[in-house]
């Protein structure tokens, strides 16, 4: 591959990324960092867990993303009576024109490029686990038959941090399958004014597709493959490994402030999936910066969204009001000594 082709590929990625972000910004006021994290996770091939209070724009973000990428989009409102088959699909008896009856698989809403699982914590663990296989292996198994999901497949699940009654905490295994966890904050006053000005008119703004409808899935997959081609040197891999090890109580053996906090507040640290998320996210960051290789700073940029939902905090942390993101920030500071 010639340097010119590689350079053109990077520029194409940057243009596409910027165009999608710009289109989403037309309808989503604020949340720039959240949008960038979501796009990063999409191109890195991961899934995103969004946490925010109701009415803050979670669904709008996902819908805008789907429209901008010109990909298929489904939404599942998770409730306590939602069954796994409601997500994956089921087999029904179908009578052919010849009169023959046979079981036919009817795909569920999970068969879409973009899936919004709204308030995923309101479903039972059994239903939540229906997403596990789909998220990890991009396939579902119904009645012993595996069905491949479409590509690209991107899950955006939302969590409502309030109204916790009647909810089921997501199991750690499922949390670990999300590449990033993004927190949506309340918009600022100026952003709120802009929201009022754009959404309450007779002609609200709409998202224009960035990718061609027919080639959108292939283009998205192409861009995702490009991300995987980004070079990662061993020293960056060592840095990521050390960073992840520092988030675990067993790995935080030093006497530094971060290590002490990890031992005190963290019960379980980040998993190897966390390290993978760091590298994949860093690759997107490198491409966005026009580089064919990953640096330390790329890793640091996406460390918080990639690691904060992977830390299982202790009761001491809850009592002290220490959030996982705080621990990640401290670990990042401590991990600077790993740069060599």
């Amino acid at each position: 591959m010639t340097p010119a082709v590689a350079t053109a590929a990077i520029e194409d990625f940057q243009r596409t990324f910027a165009a999608v972000r710009a289109e989403m910004a037309r309808v989503v006021i604020g949340h720039e960092q959240a949008i960038e994290a979501i796009l990063t996770a999409f191109f890195a091939g991961g899934h995103v867990l969004i946490e925010g209070v109701p009415g803050i724009g979670k669904t709008l973000i996902v819908r805008s993303l789907a429209e901008a990428l010109n990909l298929s989009f489904n939404r599942i409102q998770f409730t306590v009576d939602l069954m796994p088959a409601d997500i994956t699909g089921t087999r029904i008896i179908n009578e052919s024109p010849s009169g023959r009856r046979e079981l036919v698989f009817v795909p569920g809403p999970i068969f879409a490029h973009l899936l919004l699982g709204d308030e995923i914590n309101r479903a039972t663990p059994k239903t939540q686990s229906a997403l596990l296989e789909a998220m990890a292996e991009q396939q579902v198994t119904v009645a012993g038959t595996s069905h491949r999901l479409v590509s690209p497949f991107f899950v955006l699940a939302t969590l409502n941090p309030i109204e916790m009654e009647g909810t089921y905490q997501l199991p750690e295994a499922q949390l670990d399958r999300f590449l990033f966890k993004v927190l949506l904050e309340y918009p600022s006053e100026s952003e709120l004014v802009r929201i009022l000005g754009t959404t309450t008119t007779a002609d609200p703004p709409t998202v224009r597709p960035v990718l061609d409808a027919e080639r959108a899935p292939a283009r998205a997959e192409e861009l995702k493959r490009l991300v995987r081609e980004v070079l990662v040197a061993p020293h960056v891999e060592h840095y990521v490994a050390g960073l992840v090890r520092l988030t675990t109580p067993a790995g935080a053996r030093g006497d530094g402030e971060a290590e002490v906090d990890v031992r005190r507040y963290v019960t379980y640290g980040a998993s190897p999936r966390g390290a993978q998320a760091l590298v994949l996210g860093a690759k997107v960051m490198a491409l966005l910066d026009g580089r064919p290789h990953v640096t330390y700073d790329d890793v640091d940029k996406i460390a918080v969204p990639a690691l904060r939902h992977r830390l299982v905090m202790s009761f001491a942390a809850e009592a002290a009001g220490v959030a996982p993101a705080d621990i990640v920030e401290r670990v990042l500071l401590a991990a600077r000594r790993l740069r060599s």
């Binding site: 340097p3 590689a6 350079t7 081609e229 980004v230 070079l231 061993p234 960056v236 290789h293 640096t295």
Partner: protein, 443 residues
């Protein structure tokens, strides 16, 4: 700069990395070396006046202090050089940082070190970027100067200062002590009036220092007393060496004069006579003091005596001021003892200034035919430096001269000074000067 190809990129980059590393390390090596030279020369510049003009104790303190300071500076320089030294592992990191390469160079080299595999999609682009950046991290650009100018200038300035100081010091040679010989005890024949009253010493040739060895003027520091360890003697030896190197013959003349004087006039020291006897290091504080030695009533007659019998310095003015020649100084390696091992007499030994002038005029060479015998003789007289001058010709206290151990030791060494005594007086003389222990040891 030719464009890099993916296949040869790593080799080209590694060669340039090695060149950068060599230049950087050479620079740091020079820097450490020049600064070390500057520190050493600066320390020597500071120490030189102490070595030339200060007392031994002051010089010792200054020398050890400077040694500590210089050692600390050298350690700091070594530590700094070690931190700046580019190891093979850290060279690429330093280049990345210095050249603001953004991790490209390190990525390429580390990935190249991995087992060979299919080149990645972006490998060619990375190589192209590094090839484009080769000019930005050339050895000359990362290490602009081949020579650390500040360090070199420091070394040159310090060295020049030291050289200038050495030259000035050699020009300002030491004043030769005015060694005065006098027929009269405590007398100052031909010497200008001086309010100071030095000790008057009649050097007994062959009298050993405490412990039986001849004193070494270059090895014993003043005031060291019985502590003659290497660390204690080192500053004095260094000081002596510096004076010898800087002042050369001038210092030899001073040392020779001091040697002939046998002891300095610095009477404020509290050491016993034997220790001060061979001590030169304290003399420098009183360069202009006069030295007195007793001599024979008639110098002419003494000089005419045969060699080995009370030989006086070769060159001596009529006014009584003696100035030894170089050859004479060379024949006196053991300064302060007033004589050497070859039987040469001290400056005032056997010259008739002993109490009572016991022997009178020396006879010719003794032998059985002349009916005389030879007796090694050493007597010492010392005048108070600050007290009232004794009257000329006044005999020292008997106790001070009654030093039978001198005679014993002298006999054991060698008959350094002989006087021919008529045989008729042999019994009396032997009884007076013979050491009891020696006599008791005789069969």
């Amino acid at each position: 700069m030719p464009e890099l190809t993916p296949t040869g990129a790593v080799d080209s980059v590694q060669r340039q990395v090695r060149r950068v590393r060599r230049r950087k390390n050479l620079y740091e090596l020079q820097r450490a070396l020049y600064l070390t030279v500057a520190a050493g020369a600066g320390a020597a510049t500071i120490l030189l006046p102490f070595a030339l003009f200060a007392a031994a104790e002051v010089f010792a303190i200054a020398a050890w202090s400077m040694l500590l300071i210089v050692t600390g500076i050298v350690l700091l320089l070594a530590g700094a050089a070690r931190r700046r030294w580019l190891a093979r592992r850290t060279t690429v990191v330093w280049i990345e940082t210095s050249g603001a390469l953004g991790g490209r160079l390190r990525t390429l080299l580390e990935l190249a070190a991995r087992p060979a595999g299919k080149p990645g999609f972006f490998h060619a682009l990375l190589v192209a970027q590094i090839g484009r950046d080769l000019e930005t991290w050339t050895p000359r650009r990362l290490v602009p100067r081949g020579v650390p100018r500040v360090a070199l200038a420091s070394a040159v300035v310090a060295t020049v200062l030291l050289a200038v100081l050495l030259r000035l010091a050699s020009l300002a040679g030491p004043a030769v002590p005015n060694v005065i010989t006098s027929d009269e005890p405590g007398g100052r024949a031909g010497a200008p009036a001086d309010t100071t009253t030095g000790e008057r010493v009649v050097v007994a040739p062959g009298v050993p220092q405490r412990g039986g060895d001849h004193p070494d003027p270059t090895s014993d520091g003043a005031g060291t007393g019985d502590d003659d360890s290497m660390l204690t003697r080192l500053p004095s030896a260094l000081q002596e060496n510096v004076r010898q190197q800087v002042w050369g013959k001038a210092w030899e003349r001073v040392r020779d004069a001091l040697a002939r004087a046998g002891t300095s006039s610095g009477g404020s020291r509290s050491h016993d006579t034997t220790t001060e006897y061979g001590d030169e290091s304290g003399i420098d504080a009183d360069d202009n003091e006069e030295w007195e030695i007793a001599r024979a009533p008639s110098g002419e007659m003494t000089r005419r005596r045969r060699p080995g019998i009370g030989r006086q310095p070769a060159a001596r003015g009529d006014d009584g001021t003696a100035e030894a020649t170089n050859a004479d100084a060379a024949n006196r390696p053991t300064a302060g003892n007033g004589g050497s091992d070859d039987g040469e007499g001290g400056g005032g030994a056997g010259n008739g200034t002993s109490p009572g002038d016991l022997f009178g005029a020396a006879s010719v060479d003794g032998g059985p035919a002349n009916d005389s015998f030879e007796l090694s003789l050493a007597a010492r007289m010392r005048a108070d430096r600050t007290g009232a001058r004794r009257g000329a010709g006044r005999a020292p206290d008997p106790d001070a001269d009654a030093r039978p151990e001198l005679a014993a030791d002298q006999r054991r060494e060698s008959a350094a000074h002989r006087m021919a005594v008529p045989a008729a007086y042999e019994t009396v003389v032997r009884e007076v000067f013979a050491h009891r222990r020696t006599e008791s040891e005789q069969p």
